[in-house]
Amino acid sequence: MIVLLGVLVVILGFATRRNPLLVVGVAGIVTGVLGKLSPDEILKTFGESFASSRSVTIFAITLPVIGLLERNGLQQQARTLIGKLGNLTTGRFLTLYLLLRQLTAAVGLQTIGGPAQSVRPMIAPMAEAAAERKNGGRPLPRAIRDKVRSHAAGADTVGVFFGEDIFLAIGSILLITGLVNATYHTHLEPLDLALWAIPSAICAFLVHGARLLRFDRELERELVVANAELDVEETAK
């Protein structure tokens, strides 16, 4: 029972907004001690699990090329390009990206997108440019611009989460078969699990896609309000 205090450490640390690295470190050590692991076993578990989870950090390898392209104007060019795409609104553009992200992840290409590879250099600037066009070419107010960028990140994340589990060789599917088959002496096939991910994937597209399309109307309203305030300020001067 007492081992659950480790979970409490995480909750408290997170609720009091401590640095997440410290929260994880302290919770790990506390849980280990409460679970009667020796200091040596705790260090071993830290080391072994850190070594076997390196794959979540390897996206860093794409940073040099993205950095190089950005200093040569990739974001600016992405804006110019979307500027030419006639009537694609922010919401429609992001819905299209959501679909694309789900489909590519479902065939095992989850590294195609991501915040560093695609959202920052391409998707966010394009979504923003579409919103600016709606704003008559004027730059967006900070709060609205951040919301558009947040939605660009959200479309990417929702897309990959509810697409990737349709692919057989993805970590979560392998984790399920590995854990369940070993612990409970049964036999689950990756393919069965992957097929069961399809209904949720369809729900995800319908729900999030609808929200993105509705975001267009929300954006329009907020821009009208923001511009009205701007006008008032200018007349006051």
Binding site: F14, N19, L21, I42, S55, Q77
Partner: protein, 322 residues
């Protein structure tokens, strides 16, 4: 055969080079501790190879992880002011290079696709080219290297130091948050080793009314959601909730379809990932990369979708798994 470990060494080497650059970067007020952080992270990527094949002890790596936690946790990792182009120069450069700028960016996914789909079909003298099961990871690595070469050629950039400096700028803007996902996997392993799952199971037995199918399904899914929010990682929540409810109650007592329960249960956990700052790589890293004022911006736009999908997942299991 090209092994995934080689690629991890390359990533490690990149961290070490950037770490040394940070050590020498006078514009960074915390250059010694920041540089040590990135350099040590790079070294762990090499050392991990021997931990994985069990030829060196894992305790020193555990200590290194604790040092990284302290450097990042006590706010000793800062950033410098990278030399780069300004907005006006970038607009001019964009006009000069035009859509050619997209070629290197699209090279990464195209090469990754080819590596993941086509290359595994070829054999040379009975050997596969890429280590089995790691084709996607290796594809990303090869894609990044090819894209860098293509980028330097397209942009007529002869100095390799330029992309490395530019990449370091992005790395420093992410800071210690880059490490959090890997540490959450560590926390999940500790929870497992200390028996957190078994304990949650005992509590569940006490609170769950007998034979209430919908309640049991909801408890499993909401449990996955809540634990994922706490730990930032559905992978860490899965062993806990499956030992507690998923297997003993839903599969054994109520005879649910194991594949459906487990698969959709994991997706209920993913709904939690959408809502938590603990899932730094999906929520805080994008906020930092996009230079958002509110670091919870992505979570706020994702949360409504996550809650609706949690309900969808509960109903999918309830209606189709039994």
């Amino acid at each position: 055969m090209i092994k995934a470990e080689w690629f991890y060494w390359l990533v490690g080497a990149v961290f070490i080079v950037m770490g040394v650059q940070t050590l020498m970067d006078r514009t960074n007020a915390k250059r010694y501790t920041s540089g040590s952080f990135w350099t040590l992270l790079g070294v762990t990527f090499f050392y991990s190879s021997w931990v994985v094949d069990k030829s060196l002890p894992s305790e020193p790596l555990g200590i290194a992880v604790l040092v990284l936690i302290c450097l990042g946790g006590f706010n000793l990792v800062g950033k410098g002011t990278p030399k780069t182009t300004d907005e006006k120069q970038r607009t001019e450069l964009a006009r000069r290079f035009g859509n050619k700028l997209f070629i290197p960016a699209l090279t990464i996914p195209v090469v990754a696709v080819i590596c993941a789909v086509v290359i595994p079909k070829f054999h040379f003298g009975g050997h596969v080219i890429f280590e089995k099961g790691n084709e996607t990871i290796l594809g990303l690595g090869v894609g990044a290297i090819v894209a860098l070469l293509v980028g330097m050629w397209v942009l007529r950039e002869p100095r390799v130091s330029v992309p490395i400096h530019a990449g370091r700028g992005l790395l420093e803007s992410m800071g210690w948050a880059l490490l959090l996902p890997q540490l959450l996997a560590v926390l999940g392993a500790i929870f497992q080793a200390a028996g957190v799952g078994t304990q949650v199971g005992k509590i569940t037995e006490k609170i769950l009314p007998d034979g209430q199918l919908l309640a049991a399904v909801a408890l499993y899914c909401v449990g996955m959601f809540v634990f994922t929010v706490i730990m930032g990682n559905a992978f860490a929540a899965f062993p806990v909730m499956t030992a507690a409810v998923g297997w003993p109650v839903l599969v054994q007592n109520l005879h649910g379809n194991a594949a459906a329960v487990m698969s959709v249960g994991m997706l209920a956990g993913f709904c939690g990932t959408l809502c938590t700052p603990m899932a730094a790589n999906f929520n805080l890293v994008p906020a930092a990369l996009l230079e958002l004022k509110d670091q919870y911006g992505p979570i706020k736009v994702q949360a409504p979708t996550a809650l609706v999908l949690l309900a969808c997942n509960i109903f999918i299991i309830y209606f189709f798994a039994f």
